[in-house]
């Protein structure tokens, strides 16, 4: 950190001073400039010819992400003394920023080779991924509802384009249209919710909202606030893909180019959840009596429903889509658990989830061919035996998603369970365990097919594989998934510190609708 201090970074930020905004927004600034650089370099390379971009573009993109991560470390240990800044300067933001950057880096890494095969190797793809990442950082790091909205849009608009990036593929375009329509629809709800909260409380600043609700003074606009919270919840529910707001998810995930699916199910979800935590678990914490029961049901229905539907899926990509919905349910449990443990569990789980999901999509990419997605279960038959490394890596990711010991997923779930029991949500903990049991079936089925059924034909898997960089990334993800189990104490402590730094500690959330004493 002395590096940034030497550059003149102040120890304490006062956002009333303009220059301090530079430090507060350093990662975002670096990322924006980098994204523009990627666009410009691509144009300079290509001129006015229509040809695939050079292989140096993804490398440059990864370099930009690395530079952003470095800039993000400048936020370590920074304190913010002002209360009305639109951007939060806390450990929570630093942590989640890393999660988005990891998601984006994995997305770029596994897209190498894939884009060429589908004939969509264009520099815009990489620039759009960077801009979407910028949106995530703004959304997850905002301390003002309007900033959250802008971040949401900066994130969503590039994603709409990315989903439909393969213009020649009707499925991609169709998925893009569906995602766009439902995404814009949900943004409308979210925005209307902001307007009503603004009307009720008189500000969109989250700190101010939290303080106003915390003092318990009667602001006289109870119903307006309720309606605002409900609409905000709907909007965020769409973005995190919680049942019953999940209809777009399987289609958009299925139709989108697979690296984009990976980004949507990791980075986008993480950003939406970070905003969810900031808005609900922090700003609306003292109105918990109103929203906790609703979110309780949302979490329960999401966990149970998504896992049950995932059982019926014949496509691995769609199965992973439903699995990501189910994981939204688990994350909601962490959010509901409240307290520092709940938020730390959330952070730990979102990190583990990002790595393992992106890795799993990397294997899906490895199994695809020119113009062929190869995502049905039968396409995976025999993969584990013909390609032991791919099979082993996929097994590890799937077991981690299922929450099996020796993987990060197990520790993450244990963390959430612990937070849930401590936070008085023992019933949700039980539902989570039962839902995980159901999830064993469909994760296991893929492993069964990979190892215990013969391939469709001789040499069916001959072309399966990834280019070196992508292989390295997937292998790294694999190592991280296992290492996070054995050395989980390190990210855990980091998550705890980050959760502690959320600028306001909420009061314990109210009890769940049914009596929270199944056990005690």
């Amino acid at each position: 950190m002395s590096f940034f201090a030497a550059l003149g970074r102040p120890e304490v930020l006062d956002l009333a001073r303009q220059t301090h905004y530079f430090w507060a927004l350093l990662p975002e600034i670096v990322l924006t400039l980098g994204a523009m650089l990627v666009l410009i370099v691509d144009v300079i390379h290509k001129g006015d010819r229509s040809e695939p971009s050079r292989g140096s573009i993804p490398v440059l993109t990864l370099a930009v992400l690395a530079a952003t991560a470095l800039a993000n470390t400048a936020l370590f240990g920074l304190r913010d003394v002002s209360a009305n800044g639109m951007v939060a300067v806390d450990g929570f933001r630093t942590f989640t920023n890393f999660v988005y950057l990891v998601a984006a880096a994995l997305c770029i890494a596994i897209s190498m080779g894939y884009l060429e095969r589908r004939g969509i190797m264009k520099g815009e793809f990489h620039a759009l991924v960077l801009f979407a990442t910028l949106g995530m950082m703004l959304m997850g790091g905002s301390r003002d509802l309007i900033m959250t909205f802008i971040g949401l849009e900066v994130m969503s608009v590039p994603i709409y384009v990315l989903v439909g990036f393969d213009r020649m593929d009707p499925r991609s375009s169709e998925a893009s249209l569906k995602y766009f329509l439902l995404g814009a629809f949900s943004s409308g709800f979210f925005l209307y919710g902001i307007a009503l909260v603004f009307g009720a409380v008189g500000s969109t600043n989250l700190t101010y909202i939290a303080e106003t609700l915390g003092t318990g003074t009667d602001h006289g606009h109870e119903r307006l606030l309720m309606a605002g919270m409900a609409l905000t919840l709907v909007g965020l529910g769409f973005k995190v893909a919680a049942i019953p707001f999940h209809m777009w998810t399987p289609d958009a995930y299925d139709g989108a180019p697979t690296p984009v699916t990976a980004l949507m199910s990791t980075g986008v979800k993480a950003a939406a959840f970070a905003a969810f935590v900031r808005i609900f678990a922090v700003a609306f914490a003292d109105a918990g009596a109103q929203w906790v029961p609703v979110v309780w049901w949302l979490a329960a229905v999401t966990m149970v429903g998504a896992n049950l539907v995932a059982l019926t899926q014949g496509s691995v990509k769609r199965m992973l889509a439903y699995s990501s919905i189910a994981h939204a349910g688990y994350l909601l449990v962490a959010l509901l658990s409240g307290g520092d443990t709940g938020k730390a569990a959330f952070l730990f789980y979102i990190l583990a989830y990002t790595v393992m999901t992106a890795g799993a999509f990397g294997i899906v990419i490895a199994n695809s061919r020119d113009g062929e997605e190869r995502v049905t279960l039968e396409d995976y038959a025999g993969l584990g035996l013909e390609k032991p490394w791919l099979g082993a890596a996929f097994s590890i990711f799937l077991l981690s998603l299922a929450g099996f010991p020796l993987t990060a997923g197990f520790l993450g779930k244990l963390y959430i369970l612990r937070a849930a029991v401590e936070g008085g949500q023992a019933q949700l903990a039980v539902i989570l365990v039962l839902a995980s049991l159901v999830s064993y079936f469909y994760y296991l089925r893929v492993i069964v097919v990979m190892y215990m059924r013969p391939a469709r034909s001789e040499g069916w898997h001959a072309g399966a594989g990834l280019p070196l960089a992508a292989r390295t990334a997937v292998l790294a993800a694999c190592v991280v998934v296992v290492a996070m189990f054995f050395a989980g104490a390190v990210p855990m402590r980091w998550a705890e510190q980050s959760a502690l730094s959320l600028w306001r500690q909420p009061a314990p959330v109210a009890a769940s609708p049914a009596p929270a004493s199944l056990f005690r």
Partner: protein
């Protein structure tokens, strides 16, 4: 010699026994198909040689200092609150220290024999798979070695988190062993095995977490330590304790398997390759009964000693013995028959455990050992037969005593050991169980003793049809007798079966203190009505 003794009193040996097969698994995978089996054999033999001195240096009183394991038990009213805990070779390395998760392992008179059984079977299984497994050898041996590591871990874990991790770790390699190298219906068998066991263990996980949080909320300390889980301050209500016991018991009952939960076992056994059946019958089933002895009963003595629980356990145990014997008697498939005998034998173990006296418990442990020798021997023999004739159907054979006399002799011996003929391990152990059960539940003992007769009823006809009768089929005439490798597998088992059958004292001596202590723990926790919570909390030192 001093050096050796010093080594075997130190903490590293158990960690070595877990880590070495894991490294061996990696090595077997890396060296490739051609030399994987040789690598696995070397690893297995080294593992066995390293583990054997544990038997001779074993000190039943235990050598682990209090400070190593179970941090804060001073002043608590039960038998573990001595200056040393009755375990040896303890390791206690912080893992997730904030949560109270440590890598705690240790050995006592109960786990000692389970560990030795595992390490004994490992090289034998490698030899048994020598020619049986032809495809994907490196993965097979890697799985086998990883499985062994997991099993050893289960038997020495003294931290509930570590225990759970090893418990689940065992599942995956076993699942692959059945599913990839098994028979025709292997996928069905593998998935059934996995889901049954996983469902049971998730329930156990919930119960573990519940106890963890309760101990945390009562004493303020976060610990997954085995000893802290027996903290009497936790003071569960009767209903809580019953539910928790049930959650643990279900996980273990599926694994044992106790009567209504046994349906995965015949499939798994019949479909698994020989080595899979051997380790399944030899040690994996014992993980369930070990769980009862080590965890379920000591953690929740009130629930476990409740008349209802004991009654159910006894009834299910007896049903298991008699029902399994009945079903075994009509099996046309020899491997399935042997699989059902496992259910019957494990029924005896359940009786012995729930008799709650020293003889019963020792008997249960002896059945676990004896069954871990005789049933693997039967599976090895059937595997050898399968390699020659590619069949497990009893009616395909007949008159093998004429064509392959050595094999037939071995088969007769193994069958006798399984039935429990005097002079074999089976007799001593089942006799002890019946004696122990008779003290508390005479009628149950009477019923169960018919099981011994039943064992003869299903085992002898099988032996007769396979080894004797007329040598009708020409295919049975020109098959080679056992070779040296196969004898090398069987002879150690023969020797051990006879040793235990004739002179079981060294075994009983080593397990007696541990068994007594477990019983004492339960009775001290059972007997006095709990003091009011506040008093105990005040009396207990709170560091």
């Amino acid at each position: 010699m001093d050096f050796l003794k010093h080594l075997y009193e130190g903490p590293g040996i158990l960690t070595f026994l877990i880590a070495f097969p894991l490294l061996g698994a990696l090595a077997a995978w890396l060296v490739g198909d051609r030399s994987a089996r040789a690598t696995a054999l070397v690893v297995g033999i080294v593992e066995l040689l390293v583990s054997v001195p544990l038997f001779f240096t074993f000190d039943p009183t235990g050598t682990c200092p209090q400070s190593v394991i179970g941090r804060q038990n001073e002043g608590l009213p039960f038998a573990f609150s001595q200056l040393t805990v009755p375990f040896q070779n303890c390791t206690d390395a912080p893992w997730f220290a904030d949560w109270g998760i440590h890598f705690r392992i240790g050995l006592d008179g109960i786990s000692l024999f389970m560990v030795l059984l595992t390490t004994l079977l490992l090289p034998l299984m490698v030899l048994g798979s020598w020619t049986y497994i032809r495809d994907r050898q490196r993965t097979f041996y890697a799985m086998l070695l990883a499985l062994t590591a997991g099993v050893v871990g289960v038997f020495v874990a003294l931290d509930m988190f570590v225990f759970y991790v090893f418990w689940e770790l065992v599942l995956i390699p076993m699942y692959f062993l059945i599913g990839v190298w098994g028979g025709k219906e292997r996928v069905y068998a593998a998935v059934k095995f996995f889901l049954y066991t996983a469902a049971g263990s998730l329930l156990m996980l919930v119960a573990i977490l519940y106890v963890y949080f309760r101990v945390h909320s009562v004493t303020g300390m976060s610990s997954f330590s085995y000893f802290d889980f027996m903290n009497p301050l936790a003071a569960f209500s009767a209903r809580e304790e019953a539910l928790l016991f049930l959650a643990f018991a279900l996980a273990f009952a599926v694994k044992v398997p106790i009567f209504p939960f046994h349906t995965w076992l015949p499939h798994a056994h019949v479909q698994a390759p020989t080595a899979g059946s051997v380790i399944l019958a030899g040690v994996l089933l014992k993980m369930g009964t070990y769980g009862f002895i080590r965890f379920a009963v000591p953690f929740f003595p009130d629930a476990a000693h409740a008349p209802g629980a004991v009654k159910w356990a006894m009834v299910l145990g007896v049903i298991g013995i008699i029902y399994a014997a009945m079903v075994a008697a009509v099996q046309p498939n020899a491997k399935k028959l042997v699989a059902y005998t496992s259910v019957a034998h494990l029924g005896f173990v359940i009786l012995g455990i729930f008799a709650y006296n020293l003889i019963g418990l020792q008997g249960a442990l002896m059945v676990m050992i004896g069954h871990g020798l005789s049933t693997p021997m039967l599976f090895f023999l059937l595997g050898m037969l399968y390699e020659r004739r590619h069949s497990y159907e009893i009616e395909d054979f007949g008159g093998l005593a004429a064509s392959i006399p050595v094999f037939a002799t071995m088969l007769v011996f193994a069958a006798m050991a399984s039935i429990g003929l005097p002079g074999t391990s089976g007799f001593v152990s089942e006799f002890l169980v019946l004696l122990g059960t008779f003290k508390t539940h005479p009628y149950v003992a009477l019923l169960a003793s018919t099981g011994v007769i039943f064992a003869a009823y299903y085992m002898l006809p099988m032996v007769q049809k396979v080894a004797f009768n007329a040598l009708r089929s020409p295919a049975n005439r020109d098959i080679p007798d056992l070779d040296r490798r196969e004898l090398a597998i069987l002879l150690p088992l023969v020797v051990l079966i006879l040793w235990i059958g004739i002179y079981p004292k060294p075994f009983l001596d080593r397990m007696e203190p541990a068994a007594l202590r477990l019983l004492a723990t339960q009775s001290t926790r059972l007997a006095p009505p709990m003091q009011p919570m506040g008093d105990v909390a005040a009396a207990a030192p709170n560091p």
